[in-house]
Symmetry: D3
């Protein structure tokens, strides 16, 4: 069994750091660091829901994702300059949005829209799963503040959600792939789970060879272990209510 | 257990019809009908690979997907008129492309690009999985003709791939969802597998409630059953070589 | 006088095949085959007219046109991927729309918009004129169904319209040009006429040398002959009312 | 027979004014006034032909058309601000380009591209036909200067081309429609002809009722009369060679 | 001290020509010639203000700017064809709009929007400052006509505004740079001032070496001199009210 | 004289914090905090210069600017999602790029392009001037690393550049406006200066009333004071060479 480049055990997460209220203008704001991956997640509240939802009394949660051009060693073109979001970007932001909505009681929100923006300041693999983990806290804080200020009657988040990537690298199932591993993984899987141990999203892709059912099972187990630890870290942060704002 | 609207058993596929060489200008062309879903899959050959692959000696397979505006009861806006492809479209065409590349020996192609276009003439659920099934045959025929004409030395497809949707509807795991079922499924999953019984893609999403590991297992089993039958139908068509062209 | 590549006489149409209700979700749907040219025409109904027509009590008929990327031997780029419709596409869809509106009693429609989508599955010349011929039947069927269901009071189509291309090839006026002829025609003309023998559109273009009045007259005569036969084929289809829908 | 709003006879052109070298940086520049319609036509020379023509030794003539936002009483949106050219704009610029190429000996140009820009400063009907008339002179002057400076060996324009609109208004065939007439014409036709009396383009459209062959014939005759006068005016300007440039 | 290419003294403006009502459909229309620079400025009136201003009772003045492709010796790409306005274009039109709004009493306008379009017919330096000078008169005339017709109660322009470019060329501060000077200026500054001698905009840029405070002072003085003369020319035109329209 | 909202004296800067190597993948990376404004500036190196510079042996420095959607209390639309950069964004990034190039010896760079990306994490006024200040250090570090690794022969930055905003608020000239002041300033000015006390950019705009020469002078003086302090802070950071990279 090959050693991982950063010396981690196969079922070990990278160091995790959650900075709450990294910025203070958005209703919720979390800077999440997972190893060298850094994502700023903000949750912004608008009184307006999308046109097709007006009058339903229900709220909406949506997400947007972007990578800053200088986030990786080789600069990536700015999507605003190119004039369109890539398929990858859209796929990722749809995943984040679905994951957060799966644990949100939309009718309990009232006609409010919360947009969770996940902007990657540095990218070293696992940016979409970090976005789910950080985005969940930003969304939770935004809702807590809406409840505290009386704009929302009950807190609409039903349970916590967290996400992690797993993959088969050098024939070995591994947890929380860094970019170097991700880029040469034989199988790559992103898993989103809830505090109750159920699945929100399972997205597995054979990058090289198709994979067997036994590999799938091993990866799902590994993901469960990692997500359990991530949920713990989220819970620690959220055990203290966010500072109130004027 | 509720009856399915079209009377099928939970593990029953819709009627499948594969029309080979539905059109004759593209190198491969297959019209696939799965119940009322109709997709035209064509495979077009170009001597030019994408810029980043030039000089590598390897080939490339890519896919594009679109829904004709009149494909559904409520007309959908034409993406060319709106000026951009939706996130859903890009997500789907990336899935089709990855699935086909997973069973293709790209170096064996030489520097040739094959584009598989999947245009949905009528949409009643399962358009992306039908695209994979039909696209595989169109790609196979295009390669067979390239081999026959001497432009390719060996046939680059290593094994067959097929795809199916499964989901939990009314609490029951079901195979091959039609639109009416898909739109109210609690869990929705697309699975792509190979003839050797391995996975290429597993994409499961909780539409309402998160789902348990036992549900995931039941759906994967159902998918395996359906894909087996689809692979048989593909094999029947491909047991006869395609007509040669001038 | 040179023989035509497919052996036709100069005033002979290619074989014509009209498949009614090729798809069944759109209000009208016709697959038209003219030789190797194949176009799927669907007519979709919306209760909403364009903004500038609201409150006028009048309806609107518009058309959109597209060529599937695999429709020709050399794949054409997908306009949705390029992000804009070409000038050729826009010119063609404007022509189809004007032609259908010219035989429609818009006030008789009430405030309803019908969009006729013409998607070319295979292109061998004459795609825009085939679109007019097939689109007319799809529009007629959509209106018949609206009348049958009581959503429209009277059938708004005043008379039939059909279209054909004519051109001078190898110095000879010819009817219904296939791609090979079209691409080297000295003069190229598209003519749209009604059942009463009048003109809706006459669009003649000198591709090489400018053309004389006598050539123009010969082409208009040829067009009249061809359109007469196309109108007969349309009438045969429409002599039976379309199947009613639930 | 109703009187025309500006008192003209049915077969009378509006006053025509051609200002040569209205601007002096472009290789050819003509301001054409037809009644209140004002178009600035410039011809710019580039040593580069489009990619698909490189190495053929042939030149290319293309045209672009635009209406300034303040050209009409009701301001029209700027296409650069909207981010796309309308179908109407593209249709018109394709017509102008085809018309000018029809009288140009492209191989005689050598590998040079001339772009004729037609920008409408004020629009009162007939802007596309004025663009052909003015554009022809601008193109001719640009070529004359290229010949004079030795960059082109022979003048590539084979014969003159001019264009005019005709139409049926209040049941009467009329020459050179102003906007007020154009907007309520029953039939609208644009005709481009050469000095040798042959046709380059004939584009007739029934705006309301379809039109009979006899109406078509009357309009073509009227167009011939008008174009004869326009060709005379062009010839008068071109009888003097353009001023040479440093 | 080097002589300027066109023989002017360092503090001398180029010949100025203002043609009022160059076109007659827009509410205000001025053709301004500054040396070889030619800009057509039109002011169009709409009863609708931007969405964010509705109900405020205030009016709005905005500007758009464009260069015709044939305006310079080397043809510039048409922004409508490229599908986006350049950063330079947007910067210029924002400057023109701000300058005109700075001397307009927006509440006095009522809920009316006036768009000043500045289209450069020929570009030889100073196109943005010529646009401000000509645009001011076009805007003034449009307002005068609105007042005359009773659509506006009081004339909303509080005082005149004019603009000029200044720069350091060959080490010498110069007024009103032509393109040849502008392209090699060490410092380039655009200044917009009012009749009361105050500043609306000061935009100075070091093109090569950073510049000293003394240079800045010299340039501001020169600008004041030039703007004084431009204001005189504007006043002469506006001393006569514009012709009334039907 | 009114007190400033945050208690500062009129000539007082907000607290400044410069975090070098905030991220570590880009060649230079600086997080700058000016009060509550936070901008991440990264400098990325590419071996390729823009097409029009190839073969000149000179390098190029360019800048891009963006505001994260959650950077302000009211979420701003993501430009990548809207498909175009606003005029404001383009104006700002052009200013940053010009400012940095003004102190760079481009020929000394060799054919290398450095892109300075300035992404605003939180916006409280002065984002463009903070971008210049932080961007200068990021650019300096990137160059230092290129010199250290031998890819650049001499350090191309000739002297430091810094920027600050000044304005007239409540009739009083003030240094370094926060958003609340900026939004109601009568005059708004951005000034970029060098360590040698010379000007790179002076951009003053009357937001309400035009301003007098005396106000301009007072603002320039205030800017000089502030920029002096900013240059000191930059110098302190740069007095230590950046950490070398593998």
């Amino acid at each position: 069994m090959t050693k991982r480049l950063d010396g981690r055990a196969p079922d070990e997460l990278r160091p995790l750091e959650l900075t709450r209220d990294y910025t203070t203008f958005a209703a919720g704001s979390v800077l999440i660091r997972v190893g060298r991956t850094v994502v700023l997640c903000t949750a912004s509240v608008a009184d307006d829901v999308p046109r097709w939802m007006r009058g339903t009394g229900r709220g909406w949660v949506t997400a947007e994702y972007s990578m800053l051009p200088g986030a990786s060693a080789e600069r990536v073109d700015r999507e605003a300059a190119r004039g369109r979001q890539s398929g990858r970007t859209q796929e990722i932001q749809r995943l984040i949005g679905r994951s957060l909505r799966a644990v949100t009681d939309l009718p309990a929100m009232g006609e409010v829209q919360i947009t969770v923006d996940c902007d990657v300041l540095q990218a070293d693999g696992g940016t979409r799963t970090a976005s789910v983990c950080g985005g969940y806290i930003a969304l939770h804080d935004a809702c807590s503040r809406l409840v505290a200020s009386g704009r929302m009657r009950t807190h609409p988040l039903r349970e916590a959600a967290a996400a992690v990537s797993v993959g088969v690298v050098d024939g070995e199932p591994r947890l929380d792939l860094a970019y170097e591993e991700d880029s040469r993984a034989e199988v790559d899987m992103n898993v989103v789970m809830t505090a109750s141990g159920r699945f929100v999203e399972v997205q597995g892709t054979a990058e090289g060879e198709p994979f067997a059912r036994s590999e799938l099972d091993a990866l799902l187990e590994l993901a469960g272990v990692g997500i359990g630890r991530l949920l713990d870290a989220q819970a620690t942060v959220l055990s203290v209510p966010p500072a109130l704002r004027a």
